[in-house]
Amino acid sequence: MEYKLISLETARWRLARVWFIASGIVFVTLVAQSVGTVYEGRLQSAWGWALPNFVPTLALMVSVFAADALRPYDAAHELKVREPFFKLSMGLSIFYLIILFATILAEPLFLTFRSDPNTSPVQLLEISNLWLGPLQGLVVAALGVLFFLKEEGPGRAQKTPPSDPINAKQNP
């Protein structure tokens, strides 16, 4: 069975584009909410929940791109990735980012239909770790393969040393 291949560099940049755009939207939303004092005295909890959900992945991407930025481009030794795996990674990433953003967007509905009137929006964010945690594990596993691979020789690739910022992220 033959699979269509795409360039690893291309796959990385496509994924990075999705992650940076989606994370930017989440970031701006949180800033607007913070300015609007939506989280009141629990601002740190809100940011403590949000940042570990996307900053480590972005940091990994930036560090990989930075490492490659100073190397000359060698089209002959360019690594290829099977497209289905790339699509899987992209799909998982998009699904995860949608769920992440939807968690924030669901706050008004959560506050409207909650049974306990004293429930805070931050509580919804904390509850969301139940489904975001496993999803994040899958996403990191997929992205790890694509971003930890390092060119070694023609047509070969090896894993980079485990300087994995995702594993260093804090769990809220």
Binding site: Q33, G36, T37, V38, E40, G41, L105, P108, T112
Partner: protein
């Protein structure tokens, strides 16, 4: 003849002495009477003053009413009293007396209220209370409490949630223990409001003070929690016959003290807004009290 002459001369001398004596007596007695009159007048005036108080007070507050209140206080040592003077308010409105004029019986008061002549002719404090209560009922106020204040009473309305212009909150007027951050309508603007803005609330309580004692609000600021307990702890109605017996005369004033609270976010303590964001007249009209004010009349120019 000589005897006769001597007798005549003695009689004349006696008559002369008597005439002299007669002319002295009226002068002396008139002096005495004058002194006695002055003394009696002084004693009488001092007695009147000691009983009725200084003239300045006597002209503004009848002795009988003061005595009634003093006796009422002695007989009821555990009266529920409003802090006096009342706390500083966001706004206050002195209700002009001419809204009380006209009717002279309770029936006329009732008719005046129905015809929007609010306090028309209330002659006793009890009638003033009933007139205020009637107006509050029409404005759909859900509860209020009475307190004793010097020579009068105070009526405290239940804390209500209001919107920025002073109108009662359309859906959660009586929701004051929790600042709801829910969506009231499923619209985009409402959704964005809840998503990006902390819940914001305004609350109001009004204290109507009916008293012959002049006061200037001061003292510790009223808190939202205290405003809630004020309506819970007060009397449900005016107690006893005192207020029916005391005339609502020129010495009395009805002053509406409006306390406005503002809070942004559920975890912050509501703050008393001084001065209020809107005028006292606006508060009363937006609360559907005193519809005369809706025509643009000011408290100084009641119409």
């Amino acid at each position: 003849m000589r005897d006769i002459d001597e007798r005549l001369s003695r009689i004349e001398s006696r008559v002369g002495r008597m005439e002299k004596h007669h002319t002295r007596l009226p002068l002396w007695s008139s002096i005495m009477m004058g002194v006695a009159s002055v003394l009696i007048a002084v004693v009488a005036i001092s007695l009147v003053v000691s009983v009725r108080g200084p003239i300045s007070e006597r002209t503004t507050f009848p002795t009988t009413a003061r005595e009634l209140f003093d006796a009422y206080e002695r007989q009821n040592p555990n009266l529920k009293r409003l802090p006096w003077p009342p706390p500083t308010a966001s706004a206050q409105v002195k209700l002009p007396r001419n809204i009380f004029g006209g009717a002279r019986t309770l029936q006329q008061v009732s008719e005046a209220i129905e015809s929007r002549n609010i306090f028309g002719g209330a002659r006793t404090l009890q009638q003033v209370s009933e007139a205020i209560e009637s107006e509050l009922d029409k404005a759909r106020y859900d509860g209020y409490a009475f307190y004793y204040v010097p020579y009068g009473f105070a009526l405290v309305t239940r804390l209500e949630q209001i919107v920025d212009d002073g109108s009662p909150h359309p859906e959660h007027r009586w929701l004051v223990t929790d600042l709801s951050s829910r969506m009231y309508h499923f619209t985009l603007s409402e959704y964005l409001r809840v998503l990006f803005r902390a819940p914001e609330g305004r609350y109001r309580t009004i204290i109507f003070v009916v008293s012959a004692e002049r006061f200037a609000p001061e003292g510790p600021a009223l808190t939202k929690q205290r405003a809630i307990t004020l309506t819970q702890m007060g009397e449900a109605a005016l107690r006893g016959n005192l207020y029916s017996a005391v005339a609502f005369d020129e010495s009395y004033e009805v002053i509406a003290l409006i306390y406005e609270f503002h809070v942004l976010g559920r975890e912050t303590e509501p703050a008393l807004v001084i001065p209020g964001s809107i005028s006292g007249v606006d508060h009363l009209t937006k609360a559907a009290l005193w519809p005369q004010l809706r025509t643009g009349c000011s408290p100084d120019k009641w119409c």
